[in-house]
Symmetry: C2
């Protein structure tokens, strides 16, 4: 049975904190497209998508899922990602929207966030 | 100067509580398209869009805006609508995403919510 949309997004937010890039990418269909944030160039396919998440590797990071809305195979999730590196703490709080296919894989992800949703501080 | 995306969504959520249908519809471009919730038939243009909001007329209602994310001319908003009629209270808490044109009018709106986000109770 295909993974349910709510479970997929919960898994996604968990893996953004704890997972290797490969586990995050595996939530996506092979020909998935992401736009993070909206307005930036689209990334298509596992290799291009993996480049985005590789930036997280080596960072101390944690995530908190605030809200999930499910409409059929479409989901919207509000969450916060905090990551720490070299004495800097970055906090990003987007709303990500995703469309899933019948196999429960993400085929499209678009992230709503702007400068006001990204905070950098020295620690 | 065109209205800013954040102001438009704040105005939208306010008018869903307090406004006449015409004021809500006026936030939309003439050929705007809405899908509320995602998966339901699209409504295109002011007349079809107005039919959705007319259902609110005559209800006691209030709204609360929880979160707004702005990415260029795209916005995502999490809010709650509570409405009361004939001894029933309805609570709906969607995430709406919108795309605005250069004039600050909404050209597309899609609402993320499902059965779990809609509560009905007798009061």
């Amino acid at each position: 049975m295909a993974a349910q949309p709510r479970d997929v997004v919960e898994q996604y937010v968990k893996l953004v904190a704890t997972g290797p890039t490969s586990a995050i990418v595996d939530l996506y269909a092979a020909d998935a497209v992401i736009e993070d944030p909206i307005g930036s160039p689209e990334r298509r396919g596992h290799e291009a998508i993996g480049e985005l998440y590789k930036a997280l590797e080596g960072l101390e990071r944690e995530t908190e899922l605030h809200t999930v809305k499910v409409a059929g195979n479409h989901v919207a999730a509000h969450f916060t990602l905090v990551s720490v590196t070299n004495g800097h703490k970055m906090t990003l709080a987007p709303i990500d929207v995703m469309e899933l296919n019948d196999e429960g894989k993400i085929i499209k992800m678009r992230a709503y966030w702007g400068p006001e949703d990204l905070k950098m501080e020295q620690i």
